[in-house]
Amino acid sequence: MDLFLQLTLAGLAIGSIYSCVALAVVMIYQATDHFNFAQGEMAMFSTFIAWTFLGLGLPVWVAFILAVAASFVAGVIIERVVVRPVENAPVLNQIIVFIGLLVIFNNVAGWIWEFTIKPFPSLFPEDLGFKSDLIGPHHMGVIALTLAVLLLIFLFFKFTRVGLAMRAAAANPDSARLVGISVGWMLALGWGLAAAIGAVGGILVAPIVYLEPNMMSGVLLYGFAGALLGGVSSPVGAVIGGMMVGVLENWVGHPAVSGVVGFNLNELKLTFALVLIIGVLMFKPNGLFGLTVVKRV
């Protein structure tokens, strides 16, 4: 039973990170109908930026905040400069742009910081004042920080004027313009926030998977799976979806399950994500919490 609880809590922790990525994906999708395939690489790059700040001697939390802020600015700039020209272009062109960004970020990171694996410190100290057999300090911190970030985002969207304007611009860009909202800048803001949230996810996952340019590809896949499971039209759903994917992933790796199936499912986690994605897309394309979108012929 203990093992089960441990796996579940660890699952929630890693799931929180997937939730960050899932939320970033959903935010951009809601505003622009794009899937940003470069989200993972952008988060990885942000984590390397944080690592650079650490190298300059800055404390971990300062490096974290600076990297997240820098990611926000970068996200805004990327939307205005790189994504805007293909805003109304065919979908294939948009996909190419995201792939291009993916390739650029991955290779520039490899160029600047090389492909060797680097350890990355946790934001959370080993000694938190109390211990638990069921869950480690980093994982506890991950869950707490993620929930805090998500709460901030929720409050931002629900109670601030800009948050309302962003929601309006995403829901109905034409009407948003008619009340004087600059939809283009709302999109840029959305990208900025998504980049910032992605950076949080990257910095939280780096201590677990170690920092290197390819560290986020699996995480991104899980993030997508979580977003789809929760429903890409629902930010809350994306978060829950991310958590669920994390927990499921850990349960699937439980020795008992491997015993039943006959082989070690731990080695097939990415395939699990793939099956989940295709399964959701085929049978519940709106996810568990999303709205049904009816397409007019």
Partner: protein
């Protein structure tokens, strides 16, 4: 152009010249460069497959590395475990890849545009891990992979490199002709009708599911054949050689060459193999330059802004423009 070209005299002459040049190449360059051209043709075959699927049928795939891997591994397994010749193994690889694509085509029916891209993205990311899976290790060689000796020369007296080059050339040329025939048939028109207006196509009696899944199968088959050729050239398959970036290479090559075209695949293949080499040479001279693929990422984005129709598309447009000037 959204439709494949008529065979004009110009096109035919161009094709024959290209063929003649291709035949001459191994006699003019070193064995290593011949190997590079063979690699380029392997990619070109896969890119041709992607052109058929995305350019002519409108279904996205950023996961063609998976089918490339299926073909590559099938060929390797047939040779290593069943003692088949390279040429029979290629046929097996083609058939298996076709079915892999055809089967994937079923869930793909339900997925539109971006969602299909996402599903294929997941497929590509998951493939290396699947290939490393220990239950399959007996067949796939696990992380170590499989060594595949270069195929015996087709004609005695030829070097293995030359022989493989001409084999790949024959396969590529043959597949290009086959593609041209398919696109000019009723099936081809159905494919393109689905791309342009699926609902109208349906009302005109096109069997959407059948055409779409079959196209996926054909596209995967091409990718698988490309994978097998790749295996013969590299003499080695391993899981990490077939990661997501291979899918990126295939996509980039298709787009650079011109995704709605047949000859575009050739330019794509040449680009993917030779451009990084030139970029690397440039870097040796000017160490300050970033790695090739960082530059290519920027180049790709600029390409899609300004020249989304690729090299072949540009050739077509220039040709049409000069024709208009002459007609005045």
């Amino acid at each position: 152009m959204a439709r494949p070209n008529r065979i004009t005299p110009g096109l035919l002459i161009g094709f024959l010249i290209a063929l003649a040049v291709s035949i001459a190449i191994p006699y003019v360059v070193s064995d290593f460069v011949t190997y590079q051209f063979t690699l380029a043709m392997a990619y070109a075959v896969a890119m041709l497959g992607l052109n058929v699927l995305t350019g002519y049928n409108g279904q996205f795939s950023i996961g063609h590395s998976a089918f490339f891997a299926v073909g590559a591994y099938m060929a390797a397994i047939m040779i290593e475990h069943f003692g088949l010749s390279a040429y029979s193994a290629l046929a097996v690889a083609a058939v298996v890849s076709f079915f892999a694509g055809f089967l994937f085509g079923f869930p793909a029916l339900r997925l539109e545009g971006l969602y299909l891209a996402l599903a294929t993205f997941a497929l590509a990311v998951a493939t290396p891990q699947l290939l490393k899976f220990d239950a399959f290790e007996h067949w796939t060689g696990g992380v170590q992979g499989i060594f595949v000796p270069k195929p015996e020369p087709m004609i005695a007296g030829w070097s293995a490199d030359h022989s493989l080059y001409y084999f790949a050339l024959a396969v590529l040329a043959g597949l290009m002709v086959i593609t041209w025939c398919i696109l000019h048939s009723r099936s081809g028109r159905a494919m393109m009708a689905i791309r342009d207006n699926p609902i109208a196509a349906k009302t005109m009696g096109v069997n959407l599911p059948l055409v779409k899944t079959t196209t996926f199968g054909i596209s995967a088959m091409f990718a698988g054949i490309g994978g097998a050729l790749f295996t013969y050239a590299s003499e080695f398959v391993s899981p990490d050689a077939f990661n997501f970036f291979i899918a990126v290479y295939i996509l980039v090559g298709s787009v650079v060459g011109g995704i709605v075209s047949i000859p575009g695949a050739i330019f794509g293949g040449l680009f993917i193999v030779f451009a990084p080499n030139y970029a690397q040479d440039l870097r040796l001279a000017y160490p300050i330059l970033p790695p090739p693929w960082a530059i290519f990422g920027i180049f790709l984005i600029l390409l899609i802004y300004f020249v989304p129709f690729g090299v072949w598309g540009s050739i077509e447009r220039i040709y049409a423009w000069t024709k208009r000037k002459k007609d005045r």
